[in-house]
């Protein structure tokens, strides 16, 4: 052993140059190793810092327990097949049919081609059959019939073998014992009368917003539905998004402080967004004439006017059939706020606006601001809408300590003058100029936003990923809730009481705009004054 070492060292002495060169080569070759060591150490420090900061923000806000709800509950009992009739088969009814698990064969083929059919096919079967279609326009009715008879079904369901019937009027459908429930997607002036008739006939109702076109119709509808045994659901799908569950928790945990102002907006700047929809891509009028459309039935209680493609497709523009932005879009905003805070009927409303951009034959204003006062709740709900500018203004709940914006994601930003977060803001833990917490349904968890670009993307709702999530259609969830309630006798989220509150708030705002005065709700006589 000793000899060996001696020999070796002698060897080295003999070739000192070569050995030194070898050592130098080795050192040169391994130059990256210490750099990597420092890198690993710094990476660990950075990771720990971010992680701690993240969890400290979440912890200080008491948000540790907020998590994405588990995947949807499967319907408890589906044994009894529900036979559904669709009243009005326009574009909204197509979404209803899709939610029920039915789709037009041509659409399925097209979606198969561009690989977008997966989410729909994965949708759970609700064990329902579309057995009736009622539409005043032959073309729409035929689309409905073809959809109801389609071979393609979502959730691996077998095609419905039940006959599908076209009804020439909704009364005819409601008289038929072979129909258990109806979904109403007609122009708005029919919503309340059809719902009232359906409740009298004992058919469950899923009706698109807005709830009613006039006070009398609203009161009659609500009384009839309440005195019946039917399950009523107003068509507001957006609060079915999982983020509304998170938003509820955030409000419950008082993260925002005292909320005194809620700002809701509509920001559109296209002809389609302004409900000019009677022309096709080539600028030619869409199909439909007096031969193929039962115009008298379409008008219903509305004043008699000659048929026009403009009125048929663009009915939203006219107060005879709708209450404009308030009925079409504010309804969703009201429901979002009412589902979260249960604000109910406002004490007073002031609306103001005008037709400033879309100078056509419309009644509805294209710029509209409505202020809803809730003195008992010590808050104001503001609705600000424009059809002449698409700057995104969001939907924001403003509290003394923080603001919460809810869109497709939630982002919460601390207020610079917050009392609650004063210390954290001073210590630099919370930066009031960027969102402190965001929740994105596709990311599955609540997150304190740390990196600069992430903050930027979160603020813009650009962090959306579809990597792990299956996209679930919110309309489907809303329909599913209604159908589950029919089967287990529970009350759905957009029930008749909430529809009443929404209906009153909307009609107050509309009346204020039309009569150019402040309207109030008289809780004793239960009337708008």
């Amino acid at each position: 052993m000793e000899k060996d070492i001696k020999a070796k060292s002698e060897n080295e002495k003999n070739m000192p140059q070569e050995s030194a060169m070898k050592r130098r080569t080795l050192l040169k070759a391994l130059v990256g190793i210490p750099v990597l060591g420092v890198f690993a150490f710094e990476l660990f420090r950075k990771w720990t810092y971010d992680h701690e900061k993240r969890s400290r923000v979440i912890k200080e806000l008491g948000l540790e327990n907020i998590k994405a709800p588990a995947v949807m509950k499967s319907s408890s009992s589906k044994s009894d097949l529900l036979r559904i009739g669709l009243i009005g088969y326009g574009s909204r009814a197509v979404s209803h049919a899709n939610g029920l698990g039915y789709m037009l064969p041509e659409t399925v083929e097209a979606m198969k081609k561009n690989d977008t059919i997966k989410d729909w096919l994965a949708q759970e079967d609700l064990n329902v059959a579309i057995t009736g279609i009622c539409d005043v326009f032959d073309l729409h009715a035929e689309n409905g019939l073809a959809t109801a008879r389609s071979e393609y079904r979502a959730g691996g369901a077998a095609p419905s073998k039940l006959p599908v019937k076209r009804y020439m009027s909704y009364q005819e459908m409601l008289d038929d014992k072979e129909i258990d429930a109806v979904m109403i997607a007609t122009p708005d002036h029919h919503h309340a009368p059809i719902t009232t008739a359906a409740a009298k006939a004992g058919k469950h109702v899923y009706c698109e917003k807005s709830p009613a076109h006039s006070e009398e119709q609203l009161y009659e509808m609500c009384d009839t539905v309440k005195n019946s045994k039917i399950v009523y659901q107003l068509g507001h799908q957006i609060t079915q998004s999982v983020i509304f569950q998170q938003a509820k928790d955030i409000i419950k945990k008082d993260i925002l402080g005292k909320i005194t102002l809620i700002e809701t907006t509509t920001n559109r700047n296209t002809a389609d967004g302004a409900w000019i929809r009677h022309l096709d891509k080539n600028g030619k009028p869409k199909p439909g004439d007096e031969k193929s459309i039962d115009w008298a039935q379409w008008l219903g209680h509305a004043p008699k006017v000659p048929f026009s493609v403009d009125r048929y497709y663009n009915w939203t523009k006219f107060f005879d059939y709708d209450i404009g932005l308030i009925g079409q879009l504010f309804t969703h905003e009201f429901d979002s706020v009412n589902q979260l805070l249960r604000i109910g009927i406002p004490k007073s409303v002031v609306s103001s606006g005008g037709i400033y951009y879309w100078k056509d034959n419309r009644d509805m204003p294209d710029v509209l601001n409505c202020v809803f006062e809730y003195p008992d709740r010590e808050l104001t709900l503001l609705y600000s809408a424009t059809l002449g500018n698409s700057r995104s203004r969001g939907r924001v709940f403003m509290g003394h300590d923080a603001s919460m914006e809810i869109g497709s994601a939630i982002s919460i930003t601390a207020d610079g003058d917050s009392t609650r977060y004063q210390k954290q803001i001073e210590s630099g833990l919370i930066d009031p100029t960027v969102p402190m917490v965001s929740f994105n349904p596709n990311r599955g968890s609540i997150d304190a936003v740390t990196s600069a670009t992430e903050k930027y993307y979160a603020a813009r709702g650009l962090t959306t990923t579809t990597i792990n999530g299956v996209n679930v259609d919110v309309t489907y969830l809303h329909i599913k809730e209604w159908i589950d309630c029919i089967r287990n006798g529970k009350t759905p989220s957009a029930n008749i009481e909430k529809a009443f509150e929404e209906g009153v708030a909307c009609l107050m705002a509309h009346k204020s705009y039309v009569e150019k005065r402040r309207t109030e709700w008289d809780p004793v006589s239960r009337k708008i004054v």
Binding site: A29, E454, T465, I467
Partner: protein, 163 residues
């Protein structure tokens, strides 16, 4: 290329330092994507302008493709970063890094008339730091900096022996 003689020590030091710095940057770019839960290139790609805009849109439109791009991008960055720091297969690492950075540059070049909603941290006109880094990697690829200092010394020896 295999001849490392004819360089002054200063030239060698500077080139190796440049390689280590860029390697560090690219390695961290890769790891930072691993550390952000569910990181996705979607935000970056959705901002894409100019000639690659259509291609980026196609990537985003398909979750499968987006997922693959995210995976390749993250691990590509990590491997390139490791290669540059260790001086291992330096030329291949420098060339692939340069191509990757050039693709980033082409997705959002600061050309006149192209406006981005993501703020940049500097002021750029046509030339951005990304482009400069891409060209710096080309420089590294044409000099044998892995043979000045790096595991490529042994790779070279192994090759010489097998040849």
């Amino acid at each position: 290329m295999k001849d490392t003689t004819g360089f002054t020590p200063m030239q060698r030091y500077v080139l190796v330092a440049l390689r280590l710095l860029i390697g560090w940057h690219i390695l961290y770019e890769g790891f930072s994507k691993l550390l952000i839960p569910n990181w996705s290139s979607m935000g970056f790609l959705s901002e894409s302008k100019w000639i690659l805009a259509g291609f980026s849109k196609w990537i985003i439109s398909s979750p499968g493709v987006l997922h693959a791009v995210d995976f390749l991008n993250t691990w590509g960055l990590i491997l390139i970063g490791l290669g540059l720091i260790l001086g291992l297969f330096t030329k291949a690492a420098a060339i692939s890094g340069s191509i990757l950075l050039f693709v980033y540059y082409l997705n959002n070049p600061p050309l006149i008339g192209l406006e981005y909603s993501v703020p940049t941290e500097g002021s750029y006109l046509i030339i951005s730091k990304t482009l400069i880094e891409a060209v710096a990697l080309v420089a590294l690829a044409v000099f044998p900096s892995g043979l000045f200092a790096g595991l490529d010394i042994y790779v070279q020896k192994f090759r010489d022996r097998t040849n």
